[in-house]
């Protein structure tokens, strides 16, 4: 016990003597939270559109007016013909084009229906989809207005099915509520995986491991010395991140913090183990960085931070069972937003425990004092 205590003391001393450590521990969470949460948004603002109005009627002008009044759409240009409007799309000055054919209004009045064309730039499929969604909504509203206007006819509420959805766990569909827990999960992963891996391989690079290996130090003492400090730092950063989340974004925190920190500790053991395992293979910090970076990208993109994991192909969903971040990503959201307990998170908890045991055992086994 005295030895473990002393080893931990030594590791902490070294960690805090490293000039880069304090910025990594304090500045990184602030940056990630403030920058990424605002930047990684699904909300669309400032959708620019160009208009080609061959009809130039009350109805067509009314729609353009309505779009311009919405906070999401900005009118970029009024053009005489389609070719000129397409130029805007080509030069990225407009995201979509509205084309009203001649007789748009007449047809509407006579035949009770009319058609117009919308061309959307789909270089970014997500943006295109969201723009179309907003546009459809505004069009539907406008539709109702002109029925009232033209026909002097109030559509009876009874005749249509009214859908009023209620969004549980995030009633306002505030994307920040969705993103913040995700960013926190990324933060914990970065701290866990890189710091532990880099720390061990640094001893290899400097040759200090050579001196350590001829001492009677026990393997598990040494590994504990490499794990525990970063477990504590990881949990501290999670707490710090939660503090920012509450203070700046006022994220709802429905669940119990005890549950969250238990899950986070188990998860940290998995990523710390993965970091150590990588460092037992690698000889330099550079190699750890590259392998760690590769794993991080895969873990993050498959974790469900941006896109729901359920929409991935079945084989990818199966593969994702190997992604530790997948378990933690769903856990942290479920705990914070829904108030899930450990019972609800049994699957994630047991999977991570098994994963952690495997990772750390492999790391201890791979770390050989003799070669």
């Amino acid at each position: 016990m005295r030895i473990i205590f002393y080893i931990l003391k030594k590791e902490f001393k070294q960690i805090f003597r490293n000039k880069m450590m304090i910025p990594i521990i304090f500045v990184m969470p602030i940056f990630q939270m403030l920058l990424l949460v605002y930047a990684a948004t699904f909300e669309m603002k400032n959708i620019d559109f160009a208009v080609v109005d061959y009809d130039n009627s009350k109805v067509s002008r009314g729609l353009v007016q309505k779009l311009s009044n919405s906070p999401f759409f900005n009118i970029a240009a009024y053009e005489k013909n389609i070719d000129a409007a397409e130029e805007y799309l080509l030069h990225d000055e407009a995201d979509l084009i509205l084309i009203f054919p001649a007789n748009f209004e007449t047809k509407l009045v006579k035949e009770n229906k009319s058609e117009m064309q919308i061309i959307i730039n789909a270089i970014n499929g997500t943006v295109a989809g969201i723009s179309q969604g907003y546009l459809s909504q505004i069009l539907a509203e406008y539709n109702k207005e002109i029925i009232v206007d033209f026909l002097n006819f109030e559509p009876s509420l009874a005749s249509t099915i009214q859908i009023k959805p209620r969004f549980w766990y995030n009633p306002e569909l505030n994307y920040k509520v969705y993103m913040v827990p995700g960013i926190l999960a990324v933060l914990v992963t970065v701290i866990g995986m890189f710091l532990s891996g880099l720390n061990l391989v640094r001893e290899k690079e400097l040759g200090t491991i050579e001196q350590i290996n001829v001492t009677p130090i026990k393997k598990h003492h040494f590994i504990i010395g490499k794990l525990v400090p970063f477990l504590i730092i990881g949990l501290f950063d999670l707490a710090f991140g939660l503090f920012i989340a509450k203070l700046v974004f006022d994220i709802p925190m429905v669940g119990s913090f005890v549950t969250l920190f238990i899950m986070a500790s188990v998860y940290l053991f998995v990523v710390l183990g993965a970091g150590l395992l990588v460092s037992t293979f690698a000889d330099t910090q550079q190699q750890v960085m590259f392998i760690g970076y590769f794993l991080m990208i895969v873990f993050i993109l498959m974790s469900g931070i941006f896109t729901p994991t359920e929409s991935m192909p079945i084989w990818a969903q199966k593969l994702n069972l190997l992604n530790p971040m997948y378990y933690f990503m769903s856990s942290i959201r479920m705990i914070l937003l829904k108030g899930s307990s450990l019972v609800d998170l049994q699957f994630q908890l047991y999977s991570l425990i098994v994963y952690g045991i495997v990772m750390i055992s492999l790391a201890v086994w791979k770390y050989k004092k003799v070669n």
């Binding site: 002393y6 030594k10 400097l206 040759g207 003799v370 070669n371």
Partner: protein
């Protein structure tokens, strides 16, 4: 249990295609200061790493303090001190923290073994709150030696401790080794410097993974059976070239500003050599008969067994 502090029997080691050690047999007596002498790549470090249980031999057996380096590696790690060739202490910890750390992981304290490290540690004690990375080369070396001694080892392994250390510190360092030896610690030290070989009780001359000779430095020098000449002239390189082309030459090696020359017949005279050198167009010729040094013996051994 043998009376040897280190006992090596038929050790072989190769890394992929390179052979690092070929059939090494060697024993070091208790309380002996033993030197492994040879150029870079001779296998000195590999041998020390096997003896400190960091590397497993391919075949053969080795015992340190009676413990098998493979089976009883745990006992060995308790009982030996090791100073690797590269400075391997924590640069970001202070002198005192380093020493304390190594004392602790050996389950001891600085106070307990202070007597042993005192002569060395006291020289750097005034810098005990300075980080190891900020020490000078000589002070780093003293700290490394203190850390290797803090658990009172019975055998001390030093891998090229004086490489890259200034001349004054080198002399000082060998003085410290003599002191440790007098306290009963067996020391195995490797060095590429031939002049340091003369400071050991016995040395093994190594080359390309093989031991060419084991003996006391005195005996090695006495065993040098040839007449050795020291030749000087105005042009060292030309002297060497012309002598190597002479049919009466056994060997000719550059030693500083002179050439050490051995003829293939002991009957050769200095006037005969001078005559040859003058014919070769050399001037300011000085010729004297000298006593062989360890380096001459090493060169002689290499001339006789051109292994690679």
């Amino acid at each position: 249990m043998s009376n040897f502090s280190i006992d090596i029997q038929n050790i072989n080691k190769s890394y992929e295609k390179t052979t690092a050690l070929k059939n090494i047999n060697l024993s070091v007596n208790k309380g002996e200061l033993f030197g492994l002498v040879g150029p870079d790549g001779a296998g000195k470090t590999s041998l020390i790493r096997i003896l400190t249980s960091l590397v497993l031999p391919d075949s053969g057996q080795a015992f340190v303090d009676g413990f098998d380096v493979v089976k009883d590696y745990k006992k060995i790690r308790q009982n030996v001190g090791y100073m690797p060739g590269k400075f391997s202490l924590y640069m970001d910890l202070t002198v005192l923290e380093n020493l304390n750390f190594f004392a602790t992981i050996f389950g001891t304290t600085i106070e307990e073994n202070y007597e042993l490290v005192k002569p060395i540690y006291s020289q750097i004690e005034s810098f005990k709150h300075r980080k190891a990375g900020a020490l000078s080369g000589g002070m780093k070396q003293k700290l490394a030696l203190s850390c290797a001694l803090i658990h009172k080892p019975t055998v001390l392994f030093l891998d090229e401790p004086t490489t890259g250390v200034d001349a004054v510190s080198r002399v000082e360092f060998w003085g410290m080794l003599k002191d440790l030896k007098s306290k009963g610690i067996s020391i195995l030290v490797s060095t590429p410097y031939m002049d340091e070989a003369e400071l050991c009780d016995r040395v093994a001359l190594m080359q390309s993974g093989e031991i060419m000779q084991i003996n006391s430095p005195q005996q090695i020098v006495n065993d040098f059976s040839h007449t050795l000449w020291q030749l000087k002239s105005d042009n060292l390189y030309k002297t060497l070239q012309s002598l190597r082309n002479w049919d009466k030459t056994h060997s000719a090696h550059a030693f500083g500003q002179s050439v050490h020359f051995v003829a293939n017949s002991s009957k050769i005279t200095s006037s005969e050599i001078k005559e040859y050198m003058e014919e070769a167009g050399l001037e300011n010729i000085e010729i004297s008969g000298i006593k062989a040094s360890i380096e001459d013996c090493f060169m002689e051994l290499m001339t006789n067994n051109p292994t690679n």
